[in-house]
Point group: C2
């Protein structure tokens, strides 16, 4: 069975390694767009579009599991994606300072084995509480470059972790892939090997 991660994120790759010894990475081109303004619906829609883009490239006769994922940050009803530039990252971090926001990751699993197809989409939400952070901290953090490719302009697994007081929900979901939930779903649908 081909196991394919439809994402170029190095963080998602690391998380998926916890479940599979071997898998391929075929990033979706990301020309997808969401019709919804609701963060949960957005990540469900975009994860599905990414997984289906890769599915369209795979021969029908192949056994496969394709994993698509999308992550957004939501603060008081506003959906925050990756920053456009350093100024945008600084603005986003100033907004997150001292507040609780939500991180949504949507996952779509497209599974095909012996002609049986399954398609499962789910979204997880994690609440993240930021400590109050100063303008000097924001500036230094943005200059480090870490925020620039990340939804919400921070990396919880990197130096951005120092700003985070607590979370409620899945940690890996904030990193970008709720691997525990994926494992729990896969346990029920397939008998392919999950590593320990």
């Amino acid at each position: 069975m081909r196991i394919i991660l439809a994402s170029s994120s190095p963080r998602r790759k690391e998380l998926l390694k916890k479940l599979f010894q071997d898998f391929e990475i075929l990033p979706a081109k990301g020309e997808e767009s969401a019709t919804s303004k609701n963060p949960e619906e957005i990540v469900l829609e975009l994860s599905r579009q990414k997984a289906e883009e890769i599915q369209s490239l795979i021969p029908d006769s192949t056994d496969y599991l394709i994993i698509g994922a999308d992550t957004v940050v939501s603060l008081e009803g506003n959906v925050l994606g990756k920053p456009a530039d350093e100024k945008d990252a600084e603005k986003t971090l100033a907004m997150l300072s001292g507040k609780v926001h939500q991180v949504y990751t949507g996952v779509t699993l497209l599974f095909s084995q012996n002609g049986i197809h399954k398609s499962i989409s789910f979204a997880e939400c994690t609440h993240v509480t930021f400590y109050p952070i100063t303008a000097a901290e924001i500036s230094a953090y943005v200059r480090s470059g870490e925020p620039m490719d990340k939804a919400g302009s921070y990396g919880i697994q990197g130096n951005g972790g120092r700003f985070i007081e607590r979370i409620e929900g899945s940690y890996e979901n904030v990193v970008g892939l709720p691997s525990a939930k994926i494992y729990q779903v896969l346990k029920k649908i397939g008998d392919f090997a999950l590593r320990f």
Copy 2:
């Protein structure tokens, strides 16, 4: 200033690297023992004993920051440390299955600069919810060896992460060192460099 981690845990070392470019590792011998049965008091007491053991080895004239830490798992009032053997690890994981438990990490910071001494101890508690797990999963996980050196017999950052549905609190606290809280405390007491 000498920055010293009084722990041999590779996981604590990784977490402290997020805050400091350079530090020493001088593990406390761990002959400490707690008088309390309360998990929060236990980790406060043991983290203090570890930090003080290392402090006793450092000349008074040195500027230093010593970081001692101790972690325990508490399930329905029972404190769970590292497993004695594989059987003990299996028993512990069966107890955690499908339930919420608490992870307590106590931290003691002993700080000395220009003759000024500070001593700060705090404990953080994170609530961890396990998915229900099967005897086969427990057995395979214990055979992998990962549980054997870990409080509560699992590693959230390793393959044990797949068993965890959600947490409430600090993730790093479950790994073994609440680095964000340490950063927030250090911000207030010293002007030594914190890396980005």
